[in-house]
Symmetry: C2
Subunit: 259 residues, 2 copies
C-alpha cells in the first residue's frame, strides 16, 4: 500500500493501473508504459508523478507527451482567457478560416465584445477555465446565444459558437442542440472535440514543452503570439535544441490516431 | 497625517471627512457624527474603525447603524447565494407578492431552475456577490433574459427581473432597458433601489445585529429562515435583550427618509 500526496494535500492510494491506462490511452505501448511506471515509482506526490512521466515521455515519445499533457498544457497557457482566445483564433486560421479577435459589434440593444469573428459571419465566445473539474454550463450557453439574437437583429450572421477548454454540462448541450448554438470543447462534439482538432492541426500549445523551455521564456513567447509548437517551427523561433527537436517531431509526425 | 491599515494590508490616509460624510448620509446629525469620529480615532485598521462606528451606533442610533452597515450586512448573509434568495423572497412577500423559490420550470429547450417565481407569472434571477467592488454585468442580464425567452415559448409569463446585491454595469442597464428586463440592485433603479426597499419594509438583514448576537447563532437563525430583524420580532425569536431591543427600534421607528 503506497499513498501519494495530492495537490489538495489529501492522500490518495497510488494506482499503478490508472497511470498505465492513461499512458496507453495517450498512445504508448504497454511495455513502455510499464517502464515509465517503474521509473517514477519512487516519487511522493501525484503532481511529481505526472511531471516525471511527462519529462520521460518528452525525451522518448514527444507525440505521446503532447497528448498526455494536452489538457494541462491548455490550462497553463495563461491564468487569463486571453492566450486561449489567441490560440483558438490561430487553430481556426490553420483550418482555413479568417478570424478576428476582440471585435466590438453593435447589436440592437448594446455593443458586444466578440472574442472571435469567424469569416465575418460567425461569432464565437471563448470560455476559458484555468482550474480543473469545472464545466461550462447553461448560463454561458444562454448568454452566448442571447448575444447572437441581439446582433442578428441588426446585422447578418450565419452562426454562433461557444468554445471552451473544459467539458460542457448536459444542460448546456441540451439547450445548444435545440437552438443551434455550436459547441466546441473538451471531448465535445464526440470524436470532434478540441483535443482532436488540436492533434489534427498539430497545433499543440507551446506549454507542452514546459520543462524544455524556461517558464518565463514560454510566457514571453505567448505574449508575442507564439502559442503552438507549430508556430515555433514555422516562425523559426530560437529556443533550445531539445525543445526545437521535440517541436519538429510534433510537427512532422504522421498522425497516429488512437481510439 | 495618520495612516490606517486596510483589509488588503495596504495603508490608506485616514480621512475624517469621509467618515463624517458616510455617517451623515446614513442619517446621523453632524454633532453626533463628530462625537463618533472622536471615539474611534484611536483605532488602527479601516475595518476596526468601521466595526467600532457600527457598535457605537447600534447602542445610540440603531436605525442609523442598520443603514450604515446595510451593504455589508447583506454581504454577511452568507458566503453562498442561498440566504440572499430567501431574503429577497421574504422582502417581496412583505410587499404583497406570492413568491416561490427554487422552482424547476420547463422552457422550450431546457429545464430552468428559477430562483424566484413571483405571483406565478414573473421569473426572478438572483445574482449574489459576497465581495465588494463587483458589478453585475451584461452576461448576467443576457442569460436571465434568454431564460425568459426560452420559458415564454411554452408558458405564459408577464415579466422577468434580475436582482443583485451589487451595482449594475452600464451595459447591463442599457441592454435591460431596451428589452424590458427589470433590474433591482444596489442604488438601482435610482431612488427605488434595494436599499430603499429594505428600509421601507423594515426588513434589515439580521446580520445588522452582528456583535449583539453571536455569529454562530446568526448563522443558525438564517438557516431556519429568520433572515431579517423584522422576522426576529414577528416570529418572537429568543435572542439577547440588547439585540431584541435594537430589533424593536428598527421595527417600530417611523421612517426617517434621508436624501
Amino acid at each position: 500500500m503506497r499513498y501519494l500526496q495530492k495537490a489538495s494535500g489529501k492522500e490518495e492510494l497510488y494506482n499503478r493501473e490508472k497511470l498505465l491506462r492513461s499512458l496507453v490511452l495517450s498512445g504508448l505501448d504497454e511495455r513502455s508504459a510499464a517502464d515509465i511506471a517503474e521509473e517514477v515509482e519512487k516519487i511522493r506526490t501525484t503532481r511529481e508523478i505526472y511531471e516525471a512521466v511527462r519529462q520521460i515521455l518528452l525525451r522518448k515519445n514527444p507525440e505521446v507527451a503532447a497528448r498526455y499533457s494536452l489538457k494541462d498544457a491548455i490550462m497553463r497557457l495563461g491564468p487569463t482567457g486571453f492566450p486561449f482566445e489567441e490560440y483558438m483564433a490561430e487553430l481556426l486560421r490553420r483550418n482555413g478560416h479568417d478570424v478576428l479577435t476582440h471585435q466590438f459589434i453593435r447589436g440592437r440593444c448594446t455593443t458586444h465584445e466578440i472574442d472571435l469573428l469567424i469569416d465575418n459571419e460567425i461569432i464565437g465566445e471563448c470560455k476559458y477555465h484555468n482550474e480543473r473539474g469545472i464545466y461550462t454550463g447553461l448560463k454561458e450557453a444562454m448568454y452566448t446565444y442571447m448575444r447572437f439574437i441581439d446582433i442578428r437583429q441588426v446585422r447578418e450572421l450565419k452562426g454562433v459558437i461557444l468554445v471552451t477548454n473544459t467539458k460542457f454540462s448536459d444542460q448546456a448541450i441540451e439547450f445548444s442542440g435545440c437552438y443551434g448554438l455550436n459547441l466546441l470543447g473538451w471531448k465535445y462534439p464526440p470524436g470532434e472535440g478540441l483535443e482532436v482538432k488540436i492533434e489534427r492541426s498539430r497545433m499543440y500549445p507551446i506549454t507542452v514543452l514546459s520543462g524544455l523551455i524556461p517558464e518565463d521564456e514560454i510566457a514571453e513567447l505567448v505574449k508575442f503570439g507564439v502559442v503552438s509548437t507549430r508556430d515555433l517551427i514555422e516562425k523559426e523561433v530560437k529556443v533550445g535544441d531539445k525543445a526545437l527537436e521535440v517541436a519538429k517531431v510534433l510537427y512532422e509526425t504522421e498522425l497516429n490516431e488512437h481510439s
